[in-house]
């Protein structure tokens, strides 16, 4: 009888055939990014423009498709032109007009439109080949590999054709040092300077890969490599969770199945007992990515050991941290992975029903999940007797209704049950008494997306990535005042500096770095001195923040840290469900104090009061919301005490943010007397005749800043 494995293999054959006929048979493919961010940037119109251009009579034969988030949010919409044997060309900030030029010049004329490409924007040479030398911890010990490549390329006169860069860990540490050559997709292992010389001569110059130095295996982590085309951004990344994001069409089951989708499920159903699955996850060292960092295998073990007539698996896709969008992007880019992770979890703990609790604010993610669930059900991957294995499992979506506290697991369960989403004390933990009192496992989106990787590539391999206590990778949504904003995934142990400066490309507009915030309203702000902290659960906690779910916001000299603390407190205070007093009253009083300080009404001793109250709220609150709410205040006081003092003692906001503490004045030398500011001023407090320098009446000024926005000559000073 056909096993689940046979069945998925058969599905894969069919999928690949269909894709070949519809897509890969074409010499060229064009993919348009299609996620919430991309659509906001105008990707929909761009897709339509391509569709129209390519459907005209006599148009070149090109397969057009959509993919999920491509990661580079600041450059969206991103369009890739992928031709066999070439480095994919990524066009950025594409508009319908640019689309026309791309079709005309590149697709028809075979000439890349240089000025629209990502490499042009990133100021990288347009070379024929790129060598990515692994910069991971293990490989770095094999000194001199990068230098050997650079020397060889120089000696052979290949500088115009070959670029040499540093890449993140390829996840092949046991075979390091490694280097990867793309677009050819060859991964070299156990390199020595002698081998490098040979590779340079035979492969880089002669275009014949050196088979005896190459690694013949396959690994999920390497799937993304041939599609880089933007090594400045992707070089330091290692994509496991996001392995398919920006690669496959998220609305196509065929595309997911073609890239080993549902392989892990098939393997689990065919050859592993539930206990073996739990053991594998334990062994992998995978920890929860939702913020807590609880070992996933242990959680599954607890639920698996419970005797009950019904158990549940829940995926937490509430993603309430303001400033985080990795779970949304993962679902929008690769929804089937989440379903597969849930199903494997269900099999492991003995649950037949799964729920995805997702925020109503994510309509596109919801639509793609609904579609994925329907497709999986139609293909026999969900429902009764999955793949003939006698395992039943089904998944339902439940929508959140805008309450941050519902991300907390006990509140989330209440919300799924249709009640007010209020947390309750633990124990009992949900693994004992969860949904409707039955044993329930709640896992974050990213946690579940890692599960198929653990199964396919093995727990030992997964455990070889990262640091001693934090395994694998972490996805961050990098935003704020950094050049490359977007979705990044780095191996655990990468330093904050590497994320902000290498992947993120440094601070926008050449301003000075001030702080990086992780963990959202539950986390803290880390100053420049902490930039060399490695990204892992324990190091970030030691540095006064938390790993959190993955929001990472970069702040520069123009950010006021007191105002940031106030912002987060306003958030938690508003989201406090009101059940327990320390959180309900404590956050309110803390917020009032912070508001006073930012208005210039702070008093000596306020900081000490804040710290004392923070301590009480932390210790006495019922759930994680209150327990973590003071963190932004504590960490900003710890690292930026001078800013608090400036607000309280000198009544000044050094960053010029707090409206009551800034003044606006005219710089007479720059003022041309154009009267633009005087016309905009809502209280008419700007005086001055046309063509003469204006003056702001400080008594009447309400500090709204409209004059600053109106001035085209940099003549308004904000201090």
């Amino acid at each position: 009888m056909a096993t689940p494995k046979d069945k998925v293999l058969q599905m894969r054959r069919g999928a690949v055939m269909r894709l070949f006929e519809s897509k890969f048979q074409n010499p060229t493919r064009i993919t348009v990014g299609s996620a919430t961010c991309e659509n906001a940037a105008g990707a929909g119109a761009v897709y339509d423009a391509f569709a129209e251009l390519l459907s005209k009579p006599g148009a070149p034969k090109v397969a057009l498709g959509r993919v999920g988030c491509t990661g580079r949010c600041d450059l969206e919409p991103v369009v890739s032109v992928i031709a066999q044997g070439h480095i994919p060309v990524k066009y950025v900030k594409v508009t319908p007009a640019r689309a026309e030029k791309i079709v005309e010049q590149h697709i028809r004329g075979g000439k890349i439109v240089d000025e629209f490409t990502m490499r042009h924007v990133a100021n990288l040479p347009m070379t024929g080949k790129v060598v990515g030398v692994c910069g991971g911890m293990h490989c770095r010990q094999g000194q001199g590999i990068r230098e050997a490549f650079l020397r060889g390329v120089e000696e052979q006169g290949l500088k115009e054709q070959v670029a040499v860069t540093t890449s993140a860990c390829f996840g092949l540490c046991e075979r390091g040092p490694n280097a990867f050559v793309y677009p050819d997709g060859v991964l070299y292992q156990k390199l020595t300077p002698e081998k490098v010389a040979k590779i340079v001569e035979k492969h880089l110059k002669g275009d014949r890969p050196v088979a005896e130095c190459a690694w013949g295996g396959k690994r999920i982590a390497n799937r993304f490599l041939p599609l880089y085309g933007d090594e400045a951004f992707f070089g330091k990344q290692l994509r496991l969770t996001l392995r398919n994001c920006g690669v496959i069409d998220p609305e196509s089951l065929d595309e997911y199945v073609a890239v080993e989708g549902y392989d892990a499920l098939a393997r689990v159903l065919t050859e592993m007992s539930p206990k073996q699955v739990v053991d594998a996850v334990v062994k992998s060292g995978l920890r929860g990515r939702g913020g807590g960092g609880f070992p996933t295998g242990t959680k599954w073990q607890f639920a698996a050991s419970q005797k009950a007539d019904q158990k549940y698996m829940v995926c937490n896709a509430d993603e309430g941290d303001p400033g985080a969008f990795m779970d949304r992007s993962t679902i929008e880019g690769d929804p089937h992975t989440i379903l597969e992770g849930l199903m494997i979890g269900g099999y492991a703990i003995g649950a037949n029903q799964g729920y995805v609790y997702i925020r109503a604010e994510y309509p596109l993610a919801i639509k793609r999940l609904e579609r994925a669930i329907a497709d999986a059900r139609a293909a026999g991957l969900l429902g009764r007797n999955i793949l003939g294995s006698k395992f039943d499992f089904d998944i339902e979506l439940r929508l959140g209704a805008g309450a941050f506290v519902c991300g907390e697991e006990t509140a989330l369960l209440k919300s799924i049950e249709g009640s007010r989403g209020m947390p309750r004390p633990r124990p009992p933990f949900p693994t004992t008494a969860g949904l409707w009192g039955k044993p329930t496992v709640i896992n974050n989106v990213e946690t579940l997306a890692n599960v198929p990787v653990v199964i396919i590539d093995g727990p030992e391999w997964f455990a070889s990535l990262g640091t001693a206590k934090s395994k694998g990778t972490k996805v961050f949504s990098l935003a704020g005042k950094v050049n490359n904003t977007g979705l990044v995934e780095v191996p655990m142990g990468t330093t904050l500096r590497e994320v902000v400066y290498d992947v993120g490309g440094g601070i926008k507009g050449g301003k000075a770095f001030k702080a990086v915030q992780t963990g959202g309203p539950a986390g803290g702000c880390m100053p420049a001195a902490a930039l060399d902290t490695p990204v892992d659960y324990d190091s970030l906690a030691a540095a006064g923040s938390i790993m959190g779910s993955g929001g990472m916001i970069v702040m520069d000299e123009d950010t006021c840290m007191v105002d940031v603390a106030r912002f987060f407190l306003e958030f938690t205070q508003d989201e406090s469900c009101g059940k327990c007093t320390p959180c309900r009253e404590g956050t309110k009083r803390m917020l009032e104090m912070l508001e006073r300080i930012t208005k210039g009404q702070g008093q000596e001793g306020d900081v000490e009061k804040l710290l004392r109250l923070a301590d009480t709220v932390k210790k006495a609150s019922l759930c994680g919301l209150g327990q973590a709410a003071p963190n932004p205040v504590i960490s900003t006081i710890k690292h930026f005490r001078d800013e608090y003092d400036a607000h309280i003692r000198e009544k000044k906001c050094p960053a010029g943010v707090c409206a009551s503490l800034v003044t606006y004045s005219v710089i007479p030398e720059n003022c041309t007397g154009c009267t633009a500011c005087a016309r905009k001023c809502p209280v008419k407090c700007i005086d001055g005749a046309p063509k003469k320098a204006h003056v702001i009446d400080q008594e009447q000024c309400i500090r709204c800043g409209q004059c600053l926005a109106a001035c085209k000559f940099d003549a308004i000073l904000r201090k």
Partner: protein, 172 residues
């Protein structure tokens, strides 16, 4: 009967798809748990939760009115006042805030003459809201008008964006 009493005891007819959804889910295990989903459908249909509709939900789903109200008032997403024709929301996520979303809110209040978040302009054209992070942080600050997301919005662009929805700026 006073007007107030009448309001709380009237039953409003639910739109057909919502009534059908309640009927379809009635026999499923834990049918109560669809309450939030039903409220979401009602809000989507009417733009807010009319009192009469809540009473009907209570009857049809056999859930005490107190619980229905309790749930409806708990979640930020639900509102009890009718909305303007268009909804303008400013994202107040961290990235947007750091990049000046607060200034956008102030400007919008000014432009639309709306004093309080959640309320509609006098002409009933616009409701101003602040959104929890919509997850488009890399495009901060963002503004959402109905379903369309505007990226990297500057305060001086606001009149132009609003004019697409029939806004006429006051003469300066």
């Amino acid at each position: 009967m006073t007007a107030q009493e009448e309001k709380v005891t009237t039953l409003a007819e639910l739109p057909e798809p919502i009534a059908r959804f309640i009927d379809e889910t009635r026999d499923r295990p834990n049918a109560d748990s669809y309450l939030v989903a039903v409220l979401q459908m009602i809000q989507k249909h009417f733009g807010y939760l009319p009192a009469g509709a809540l009473n009907t939900v209570s009857q049809k789903m056999q859930i005490p009115a107190a619980k229905v109200t309790g749930v409806a008032t708990f979640y930020h997403f639900f509102t009890f006042v009718p909305k303007g024709k268009h909804t303008v929301s400013v994202c107040m996520g961290t990235a947007c805030y750091v990049k000046g979303a607060g200034i956008l809110v102030d400007r919008l209040k000014d432009l639309l003459g709306i004093r309080q978040i959640g309320h509609a302009s006098k002409d009933g054209q616009f409701t101003l809201e602040v959104a929890r992070c919509v997850g488009a942080c890399a495009l901060a600050p963002v503004l959402i008008v109905d379903d369309k997301v505007y990226a990297n919005v500057r305060p001086d662009e606001l009149p132009k964006i609003l004019s697409k929805y029939g806004f006429k700026p006051k003469a300066e």
